[in-house]
């Protein structure tokens, strides 16, 4: 029976195949009429957005932000997003990385969330959409508790998902 080759030589040849595929792929792409850019322009950008707030919103309330401002906060990774909807809604889908803090059960959930809010520079509260005022109530409460940088994203879940921005499921 034929002797097996050493594993490192197998790996070396495998690397060779990958390199060959890489080179041929790049070459073919640069000569093909259907070729695409090597680095694509992926992701989303907001080209227009508006700020709609409920009638109950007062000038001294925490700052209301538009979708693009919320997206900017999201991308800075310095903001904590708080989902004020009921837990079931949160579990079936929420803004990626958001924490669940249902307004109806504020006392129950707040202790859990509190530790993550400690050094947050920005807190963005959201709920379903403009029709939903839970986020405003929560933001007022947090501002009263002394938290800085509290914002309300009235567009909420509706605008976020419509724009196809990152979401996740589960608790």
């Amino acid at each position: 029976m034929r002797q097996r080759q050493s594993f490192s030589s197998v790996l070396l040849k495998a690397a060779g195949i990958v390199c060959a595929g890489f080179v041929i792929g790049i070459l073919n792409n640069s000569f093909s009429p259907r070729g695409i850019e090597l680095v694509g322009n992926w992701g989303n950008k907001v080209i227009s957005d508006s700020l709609v707030v409920p009638n109950s919103y007062e000038p001294e309330d925490p700052e209301a932000v538009t979708l693009s401002q919320a997206l900017k906060s999201f991308e800075s990774e310095k903001a904590v997003f708080l989902d004020c909807r009921v837990k079931e809604d949160f579990d079936s889908g929420h803004i990626k990385g958001a924490l669940s803090l249902p307004w109806e059960e504020f006392e129950v959930y707040f202790p859990e969330v509190k530790s993550s809010l400690g050094d947050a520079k920005e807190i963005v509260a959201y709920c379903d959409g403009t029709e939903c005022e839970l986020s405003l109530l929560l933001a007022r409460e947090l501002a009263q508790l002394g938290y800085q940088g509290v914002k309300v994203f009235f567009g909420g879940w509706l605008e976020w998902t419509r724009a196809g921005l990152p979401v996740e499921k589960g608790s």
């Binding site: 195949i17 060959a20 595929g21 041929i24 695409i36 694509g40 992926w42």
Partner: protein
């Protein structure tokens, strides 16, 4: 029970298991699996090579790779698949090409299960066609991936360099030299 008589239910099952094991370790099985895998990957690569724009969209939809490598991945992966497919069929660098296929299948399986079971989203596979309108599969897809994965393990371990093109040419060369 008479120890001299191995028959009985247990004996039959053992015999069948042994036979199954032998078949799994057989080089002919490896040849069949090689052809199946090779043709599968060859077929799978062609559409993706032809429509890189669509395929890159699918790769992006998986939302696993950082966006700046999406296009390079979409441009080069189908060629690696094509080369591996051809090498498997021809029996060239069998260990290496089956190992690569094994790794690729493992990555595909993990990526699909990540999206289906953890994120709960069902996206276009981009396995055989770069068409964005192809139907979504999910669990069915995972089953296929696992079967192919098993085949690639078998080929990697038990191919014994049986029925390969290089071996064929070597034999012809020897015959010619010994004349």
């Amino acid at each position: 029970m008479d120890p001299g008589r191995p028959a009985g239910r247990k004996g039959v099952v053992e015999k069948q298991m042994k036979l199954l094991k032998e078949i799994f370790r057989d080089k002919h099985t490896a040849l069949v699996f090689r052809m199946v895998l090779g043709l599968t990957f060859l077929y799978a690569s062609l559409d993706k090579i032809a429509y890189p724009q669509n395929f890159s969209q699918i790769v992006y939809n998986y939302k696993i790779l950082p966006s700046f490598v999406v296009n390079i991945f979409a441009i080069t992966l189908p060629w690696v698949e094509l080369i591996c497919g051809l090498f498997l069929i021809g029996g060239i660098f069998l260990e290496s090409s089956s190992l690569l296929i094994l790794i690729l299948l493992a990555v595909f399986t993990i990526a699909t299960s990540f999206n289906v079971f953890i994120r709960g989203i069902d996206i276009q596979c981009g396995c055989f066609t770069a068409s964005l309108a192809a139907k979504k599969q999910g669990a069915e897809l995972l089953f296929r991936d696992v079967i192919l994965l098993l085949m690639s393990v078998q080929v990697f371990l038990f191919n014994q360099n049986f029925a390969t093109l290089p071996g064929f040419y070597q034999r012809i060369l020897y015959r010619w030299l010994l004349k």
